[in-house]
């Protein structure tokens, strides 16, 4: 672990976070990027069939994870939340075990990469069906409220494309009616595979939809972990204290193709991505921490080396694990043995 030094810069906007927390967020961002790229590398090496990319989402996910109360809050994620699930307690080895579809994977090798589950850590099981998990988040939040489990909140994440789905609307509407302890975080990266935001909605800001439900809408710079943390802290605290749902829009940019099966050269110019790279959250936050005197170049190099080591070790360990037995497909269809014809 990199050694930290006490911050001196008076101008640093730290959102009430300690040096250790700021560095933890930065390490999370480095780890997310490393694992994200590892997925694409393993795919290009022919070792895994598929990977999804979260590159560009590191800042908002590190900041959001910092606002999440482990052991209490519940995350209902979507499939571009690698950094968020890392930040709430899933280990790199588990993510790689999922990528390699090994038997020890949390889904037993059934789910696509980045389709998480983890009941013990408060992570819901999700499918690939866009926004189908949003109504689940409302139901989970209803259960918390029903049992008077105050102080707990549900965090439901989506991309901006998800807000086109009827179920997203239904989930937000139901949550607003019952003032449920839930935050709907929209990670607006501008694209749903190839379709730009302008073809999903006629508004510039997703947060503008919030007043239609009678709930607050907030916007934050999703390339900035501290700004996202500040916003998410307000929203999560509001949910925890009985103030009802909030719609948060964190604006970011998706640097990679949607997945290893997508080729974004067919729908966006390289110049556009190069322009957005100026706001790349990882080097941007690195500069913030250096300018604040919290990390120096040597400490950052040590962090990067540590993250690479952890990723390499997890890759090797996951690859060495056995694949599931084919007969395992019949497990966990129902509570008992699976048999459509009963004898």
């Amino acid at each position: 672990m990199a050694k930290t030094v006490t911050a001196r810069a008076a101008t640093l906007d730290r959102g009430g976070l300690s040096d250790e927390q700021l560095v933890a967020m930065f390490r999370n961002m480095l780890l997310q990027r490393q694992l994200d790229n590892r997925g694409f590398q393993l795919n290009r090496q022919g070792k895994i069939p598929f990977a999804l990319g979260s590159e560009g989402h590191e800042g908002l996910q590190a900041g959001t994870a910092m606002a999440f109360a482990r052991g209490s809050d519940i995350l209902v994620p979507y499939y571009r939340d690698l950094g968020l699930v890392l930040g709430v307690g899933i280990a790199p080895l588990e993510l790689l075990t999922n990528m390699f579809a090994r038997a020890a994977d949390l889904s037993g090798g059934r789910q696509f990469p980045n389709h998480y589950t983890g009941r013990a850590r408060g992570i819901a099981s999700v499918s690939s069906i866009i926004a189908a998990h949003c109504t689940h988040a409302a139901g989970i939040a209803y259960a918390l409220k029903y049992r008077n489990e105050t102080g707990r909140a549900v965090l439901c994440t989506t991309g901006e494309g998800s807000t086109s789905q009827g179920e997203w609307h239904e989930a937000v509407n139901f949550s607003a009616i019952h003032r449920l302890p839930v935050v709907f975080l929209v990670e607006n990266n501008g694209y749903a595979i190839s379709t730009p935001q302008s073809m999903q909605m006629a508004v510039d800001d997703v947060a503008d939809k919030a007043p239609g439900y009678g709930i607050p809408g907030m916007i934050c710079d999703g390339t900035d972990p501290v700004a996202t943390y500040r916003t998410m802290k307000i929203a999560m605290d509001r949910a925890r204290s009985g103030g009802g749902p909030t719609l948060v829009e964190a604006k970011c940019y998706r640097f990679l193709s949607h997945s290893t099966d997508d080729d974004d050269r067919t729908y966006r110019d390289r110049e556009l991505i190069a322009e957005q790279r100026k706001d790349d959250p990882v080097p941007k936050f690195e500069r913030v921490l250096i300018d604040a005197g919290i990390l120096d170049d040597a400490a950052i190099a040590a962090l990067r080396a540590d993250v690479l080591r952890e990723t390499n070790e997890a890759t090797d360990a996951a690859e060495a694990l056995p694949l599931p037995q084919a007969d395992a497909m019949y497990e966990n269809v129902y509570e008992g043995p699976y048999e459509p014809w009963l004898e």
């Binding site: 009941r119 189908a132 409302a138 509570e335």
Partner: protein
């Protein structure tokens, strides 16, 4: 043995069973359209709002996908929700939540999460319900592993199976035939009572023809079989009660005895429940049969019409059943 109460109707059995489940377990709650102050359009939950409170009897927004989706979330978090789709015809917006989510929650999390959810819905025609209040939906869902589908036809079976459904740790689609709601009466056992999911019931023993059916058609088949007794034709009537899983033993035991099989369902024939039953019997007992398997089903048209002749021609009359049974017995 449970003592039996006075005779009640099917709709009263649904109501009484839901009431007992709500009273027994505060994890059980009801979410659906007009289930609160109105007490459901068939008055099944009348008085529940006052007795159990608005937190447990939830008037849902008019949006079926979220009625099921919210209930899936509640179930994932340890509650035992009963989601009501007001009429089976309105279930299509919730199709993904049932097929893509509820049925796969346990599977895709490899048992990390379960989905103890009951989706109740009135189905079936013969009540002047026209295109969108008459449909049978079972064939659209019985293809899906992970789902349980129940369609009991009597008050006793409704109580036993609805209780079992609520206590099940997996999602159950519970179908209630509207035409039986007030036309069918029977006794139900007092107190806590369950029937094992997946067990058919021989509603009438017989020796010459096996009739396999479910829902409203069971009662017509019983009438037809009773009339045929006067002609010395002996028909065995099996009420499936459970469509997924289905009771192979009950069907094969009966067919091997009578050597003739008639399958009856109101839902249209092509790709219906009867196709699966016929295929199973052909695979397991073809050489025990003395006649081709016969199916008597609804017509292959998109929906039941509103005008009386259109509805009557869609519904299978008792006379047609009687004729089919007689023909098969004489084959």
């Amino acid at each position: 043995m449970n003592a039996a109460t006075a005779s009640i109707t099917n709709v009263e059995a649904v109501r009484a069973t839901l009431h007992d489940a709500m009273a027994a377990d505060d994890r059980v709650l009801i979410i659906g359209e007009d289930v609160g102050a109105r007490g459901n359009v068939f008055l099944i939950t009348k008085g529940f709002l006052e007795e159990f409170g608005a937190q447990r009897v939830i008037d849902a927004p008019l949006a079926e996908a979220s009625i099921v989706g919210v209930a899936v979330g509640m179930a994932m978090q340890g509650l035992r929700p009963i989601a009501e789709i007001q009429f089976a015809d309105f279930i299509y917006p919730a199709f993904n939540q049932i097929v893509g989510e509820a049925a796969k929650t346990r599977y895709r999390s490899n048992g990390d999460y379960t989905c103890p959810l009951v989706i109740r819905t009135p189905y079936g025609g013969g009540v002047r319900g026209a295109l969108s209040h008459s449909v049978s939906i079972e064939a659209l869902f019985y293809h899906v592993p992970g789902l349980t589908i129940l369609a009991p036809s009597t008050p006793r079976d409704i109580k036993g199976l609805l209780t079992a459904a609520i206590e099940s740790d997996d999602p159950v689609l519970f179908l209630e035939h509207k035409k039986t709601y007030r036309s069918v009466r029977g006794e139900v056992p007092d107190g806590h009572f369950t029937i094992p999911i997946g067990k058919a019931d021989i509603k009438k023993p017989g020796t010459q023809v096996t009739v396999v059916s479910y829902g409203y058609n069971v009662h017509q088949a019983l009438d037809a079989a009773q009339r045929l007794e006067d002609e010395n034709v002996s028909v065995e009537v099996i009420d499936l009660r459970s469509i997924r899983p289905m009771d192979k033993t009950a069907i094969l035991t009966s067919v091997r005895k009578t050597r003739k099989l008639l399958i009856v369902h109101e839902d249209n024939k092509f790709g219906g429940i009867g196709a699966e039953i016929a295929a199973m019997v052909a695979e397991e007992a073809l050489f025990d049969l003395d006649a081709p398997i016969r199916r008597l089903c609804g017509p292959d048209v998109p929906a039941m019409g509103y005008a009386l002749p259109l509805e009557e021609a869609f519904m299978i009359s008792t006379e047609r059943m009687q004729n089919a049974m007689r023909d098969l017995a004489r084959f």
